[in-house]
């Protein structure tokens, strides 16, 4: 029984459709349990006062990357069948900057805004409404931005492809960067805790 199940026909279209809300529910649950439904916590990431976002997201990325690599290596998952989004350098850089600005202003990103809205926070409801309005306007005006949207294409590339190294080497490097990031985050949080204790005493 090899994955991805949707591509190899193991679960069929109905199974794929039913698995989506289950995965979405689990995603939202763990985001909420990690405290990422709080805009204050998320904004803390940008001021380096709370690194929960970095730790949660990089933990998820690392787990998924190592899991996907090793499942592929032992033949349980065919990574060639997993959709790899195409890279468009300039539009995605601009989109990333806009996303970051919106993240900082709202204190929420798309996933966490849904979690916040579901938890009854009004700011979450506001961000979700704004996000849907933005999607609607973008689609209405797509013809105006289509040229930029499709500019500077690189195709479906990975970091390992770009660096010209085997995929496993890319995985090893990202793992090392993530672990170094966790260590630095722990040190920063330690200093913050010490500072707050100092101020409190």
């Amino acid at each position: 029984m090899n994955g991805p199940f949707a591509e190899t026909g193991v679960i069929g279209p109905l199974g794929t459709l039913l698995s989506a809300p289950l995965i979405g529910f689990a995603f939202g649950w763990f985001l909420e349990r990690s405290g990422l439904g709080s805009a204050r916590k998320l904004a803390g990431q940008f001021y380096l006062t709370d690194l929960a976002v970095f730790k949660v997201m990089f933990s998820a990325l690392l787990t998924a990357m190592l899991g996907a690599f090793w499942l592929d290596a032992v033949g349980l998952l065919d990574l060639r069948l997993v959709y790899l989004p195409e890279t468009f350098v300039l539009p995605q850089a601009a989109g990333g900057a806009l996303f970051g600005a919106g993240f900082l202003v709202a204190g929420l990103c798309p996933g966490t805004s849904c979690v916040a809205a579901a938890a009854g926070r009004l700011d979450g409801v506001g961000v979700v409404a704004g996000m849907l309005a933005g999607v609607f306007l973008f689609n209405l005006g797509f013809d105006w931005v289509a040229g930029f949207y499709n500019s500077t294409p690189l195709g479906a590339v990975t970091l390992a492809d770009l660096a010209g190294v085997p995929r496993g080497v890319g995985v090893a490097v990202v793992t090392a960067v993530a672990l170094a990031g966790f260590a630095i985050a722990a040190r920063i949080e330690g200093k913050i805790a010490m500072k707050s204790r100092h101020e409190g005493s």
Partner: protein, 212 residues
């Protein structure tokens, strides 16, 4: 940092470093491919393939690389049809033992290289394609002036041929005995001329007429 965090970090470090090492090992060594070809470990002989189909080897995957029409006309039992393009995306179980065949040997050799480069280790092909299967399994023939080695080979071929609904024939004129690399091995390579493609087409036509 709690002990759980430390343990998870160590696990991630081990898996990450092992990923780098594992991928390095799985890189195809071109000189290894060359030595496999030189040692003729890249192909399987038709009788060996027949024997594996007869004992229902669960790991065996037989791939026919010919056209749809040729496949419909005749194919090796258990074979599935695929194009070279489809093979670039096809998935096989990790323990799959893949055998490829085409009209001759060119397409199968290309497909062999393609699958080996994709990391599949157990891949072989029929060196003379469907012609070899027809000549050695479906319609083996024994010449009237057969050598001792040819007679021994025919005894084996006769049993396999009957299993697959073939038509073994003995005491035929030497000129009607199909030839290939295997007849060189049996010491009869100089005794008849070769026309593999035409012979294969005639054999398929005969099998179709018999309704097999």
């Amino acid at each position: 940092m709690t002990r759980v965090h430390q343990a998870l970090a160590i696990l991630a470090a081990v898996l990450g470093l092992a990923a780098g090492a594992a991928d390095g090992r799985s890189t195809v060594d071109v000189s290894q491919l060359g030595s496999e070809i030189d040692a003729e470990r890249d192909h399987v002989e038709a009788p060996e393939l027949a024997e594996r189909i007869m004992r229902q080897d669960p790991t065996l995957r037989v791939i026919d690389l010919r056209t749809h029409a040729e496949f419909d006309a005749f194919h090796i039992p258990t074979a599935t049809l695929a194009t070279l393009d489809e093979l670039t995306r096809a998935t096989f179980p990790p323990d799959a033992s893949i055998v490829l065949y085409s009209e001759g040997g060119t397409h199968s050799a290309q497909a062999w290289m393609l699958l080996r480069l994709r990391g599949h280790r157990d891949v072989r092909f029929l060196r003379e394609g469907i012609y070899e299967w027809l000549s050695r399994v479906m319609e083996p023939r024994l010449a009237v002036d057969a050598t001792a080695a040819e007679r021994a080979d025919f005894a084996r071929a006769e049993a396999q041929s009957r299993f697959f609904g073939g038509l073994p024939r003995s005491s035929v004129p030497r000129a009607e005995v199909p030839t290939g690399y295997w007849t060189d091995e049996l010491g009869a390579g100089e005794l008849a001329s070769r026309a593999p493609a035409a012979s294969a087409q005639q054999a398929v036509a005969r099998i179709r007429r018999r309704g097999c």
